[in-house]
Symmetry: C2
Subunit: 514 residues, 2 copies
């Protein structure tokens, strides 16, 4: 068998059975091998940013890597922005990037570029296979690297001749190292902070935001009188009725500073010491107040569940002390369409076990609170600040969880970066309901322009923030890619459209003017 087939067999045997692809000529042997091997679901996208964002959504929900299939340096370049988000989410991903044959690279053909150089900024692991007999071993190492905690982006570059030449067959995938147990000293330090009698904040991130560890964390803060919060943006939060509700640090820096100003200790559990999203003149970069002692119980890559169990034992927290969210939804709203009433509609009608993908930016502020008492669901957010992940993330989540409804809350400006994802929603008939909040502006930037002190901006500056003129017609965009769609002119429309969409298979898009 050739190198490409040895790699596909290695991936499938190693549990990597889904590939998001936008292949080109140099990947044709890999594509040809897919039919011979079997067991790999291949999902085509029309742009590489959809591929990488979908792999992120898949990895967050499946807790194992998908493969991507990308075409040389420029194809990988198109995937970088959402690989950046995946890196910040600690999502496992195995990128397979085609490259010119080893003997061809010296000639500076049109598509020649420094592929490793393109890969490095967003990858924890990068390797170029040297020959066909190495490809399977390299692929196995890439899977292990991707699975290494807390989850990593691994990029394997595959020169065309390493795909078409003869291989030695597949290679076994080694198990990644176990997550490290945190030292006793870290437990003791957290205990001391929690028992200090001073105001203490516990910040839970990463795997601490899954159902069971979050219950343990809740019991700990209840037992000790501490408070608990999550970072602003999180890869995945398991929430809803019967689970623990956790608030998040505010995005606007002034509000965030005020939110945590009272604390003298912060205990970090799978989360980093919070940092302002952007710097501003005369504003601090770190969110916690000066003099607040920082205690790291567990890094994102550590055995977080074990650390929480041990901390609970140490402070005498009992499971039944966890504060569980009561079931409850808002009534269906009346009146005008606003971000709040749209959130109420989502909360009133959200199906059980849904996956909410949140890239509504300025329009989803209250939806998080409104859905707290909904039936159990997952909430996936933009982790790296690179807009254009929502529609791809929904794609990957829906592929990973075919029995669950995905609800994508999508801002219009962000949605346009990777609008091509809608075509994959249609082709794969994915159960995704997309709500586009059409405010027709880069609204974040209007706020930020004021924040940086441009109090009276002129026409040229304002033109850079205004994505109306012409208005985007999301119904036509969706239909142009095969996704049925409608515009909600009022709340009654929205209620009807959302209810019917979540009740039947396949994708649907609702444009909501805000």
């Amino acid at each position: 068998m050739n190198g490409a087939e040895s790699l596909v067999r290695t991936l499938v045997a190693g549990g990597v059975d889904t590939c998001f692809a936008n292949p080109g000529t140099s990947e044709m042997h890999f594509v040809a091998a897919l039919d011979r091997v079997g067991g790999m679901r291949c999902v085509l996208s029309l742009f590489e940013g959809v591929v990488s964002g979908a792999a992120d959504g898949y990895g967050r929900m499946a807790d194992k890597p998908a493969a991507t299939l990308l075409h040389l340096g420029p194809g990988l370049g198109n995937a970088l922005a959402n690989l950046h988000n995946a890196r910040k989410a600690n999502t496992p991903i195995v990128n397979i990037v085609g490259e010119h044959a080893t003997h061809h690279r010296q000639y500076d053909a049109p598509l020649t570029a420094d592929v490793e150089g393109v890969a490095r900024p967003m990858s924890a692991w990068v390797k170029t296979s040297m020959d066909a007999r190495s490809v399977a071993r390299d692929g196995a190492a890439a899977v292990t690297a991707a699975m290494t905690s807390p989850g990593q982006v691994a990029t394997l570059i595959l020169p065309a001749d390493t795909a078409w030449n003869l291989s030695d067959g597949p290679a076994p995938v080694a198990r990644p190292p176990e997550r490290a147990k945190v030292p006793e000293a870290a437990i003791a330090e957290a205990v001391a902070a929690l028992r200090s009698g001073e105001p203490t904040l516990v910040i839970v991130g990463g795997l601490a935001l899954r159902e069971r560890p979050l219950k343990t964390a809740s019991a700990i803060v209840e037992a000790t009188g501490a408070h608990m919060i999550a970072p602003t943006s999180n890869a995945r939060v398991e929430r809803g009725a019967g689970r623990v509700t956790v608030n998040r640090i505010f995005y606007p820096i002034r509000q965030a500073l005020e939110q945590v100003s009272q604390y003298r200790h912060v205990v970090l559990i799978g989360a980093r010491n919070p940092v302002a999203f952007f710097a501003y003149p005369d504003m601090p970069s770190l969110v916690m107040p000066e003099g607040c002692a920082v205690h790291v119980l567990a890094e994102p890559q550590d055995d977080i569940a074990d650390a929480l169990d041990r901390l609970a034992d140490a402070v005498g927290a009992r499971p039944e002390q966890a504060v569980l969210q009561k079931a409850g939804r808002p009534d269906l709203p009346r009146g005008a369409i606003t971000p709040d009433t749209v959130g109420s509609v989502v909360a009133a009608l959200l199906p059980e076990n849904a996956i909410i993908v949140d890239e509504a930016i300025n329009s989803s502020g209250t939806t998080y609170a409104q859905t707290a008492g909904c039936p159990p669901h997952d909430w996936l957010a933009l982790t790296g600040g690179s807009i254009g992940i929502g529609l791809p993330l929904a794609t990957g989540a829906a592929v990973a969880c075919p029995d669950r409804r995905v609800v994508a809350l999508q801002a219009d400006g962000s949605g346009m970066y990777t609008v091509q994802a809608l075509w994959t929603h249609a082709r794969e008939n994915l159960d995704i309901t997309t709500i586009v909040f059409a405010n027709r502006a880069y609204q974040s930037l209007e706020i930020e322009l004021r924040n940086v002190g441009a109090l009276n901006p002129g026409r040229i500056a304002l033109d850079m923030l205004d994505i109306g003129r012409p208005d985007l017609d999301w119904v036509k965009l969706a239909e142009g890619m095969g996704v049925p769609a409608a515009r909600a002119e009022n709340l009654e429309d929205l209620i009807d459209l959302f209810r019917s969409s979540v009740g039947r298979p396949g994708p649907f898009l609702i444009e909501v003017p805000i």
Copy 2:
């Protein structure tokens, strides 16, 4: 004045008066400065691949750099694929990339990434400004770097505090070094080859494909009995009636090898020794036959016009020996819509001084020949093999040349990568007629899958090449972004639609099922 304003003033005074932008928070001071300074046309796009591709189209037509305005590492990442094409086209571009404030970068905020690392693979010049007093000087150096022959991508990274702190005002832009005169030995070597009596091919690229140098080259080959050809893909060819028509090396490697198999000498003038686009098992990487002597008259960065003049003198070529293209167009075609008949329509109706942007890939093969006798026009092609440049390239060409009609020949698969460009066509009311060849497949890959020996591909492989299911509706996509559009169901439709579009201002898109 702050650093941002000192930079904008430096750019404008240095002749950089057009900025393609997709800004974010960290670029708000730059945006705010635009209103205070004046003289900079700012064109917003909804995706960074449109920004960089438009800057490429602008630079190719204006022969000077546009600026881009991009948001941190991920924003630059989205621009990379078309910066790759620009690099291969030797297009001057000045990228301005926002970055976190210098004191904020240490904290690994969500958007933190290795911006210089992202920039380097596609940039000839990269610098991060250290403080507000350096920004103007760094900006001036970036313009000089971009203008340095043969034209380069220069990337200036601008930490937010260098934009908001106090500067020393603008800095003067130094002239780039003159293009080097080629040594006498290079002239003599070319003369010897041309007079060798052996079959000799002259390959003209880069600036040799402009009207006047191409006439000189034509006179030289006529005077010496050599043949002349251009590379497969060229940044810009000035052609049409009264100019010199030059054929191109075939893209398919077998045809290319046959095309040049007879030659014993090749003289390179602004072109590189031709290389196969991809490697194939048992195929050579270099196109010229073994034993063919390679003579470099002028590298792309040399003074090509001067080298041609001196070579013409040395071989006694007289200007009137140049073979000029006779005026002539095909008749309007009848019958079925095929790539050939579409090309005939374009050739029959192309307005004088048009700019043809060719990303039709498999559908434009004969259009190049059919338009040879059209009124003078420019032909811009995909130089780096990274598909998704056509619609952005048309954007930039139309901004650079507001009095000329741009005709974009666009394959459907390629067009989807940067489909967001249509919105900028609409917002700026650009005179662009786009013809989308809707074959509903990655047709190149169907050919390449056979080329790599996968003779009987299965369903999974074929699915990766088929972009139907669902079919894209380009009329809805265009209308969704504010571009009027129609589908040509037959040749008569196409003739009517194309004729009316090129006769009135503003953009129009015609979907042509192929």
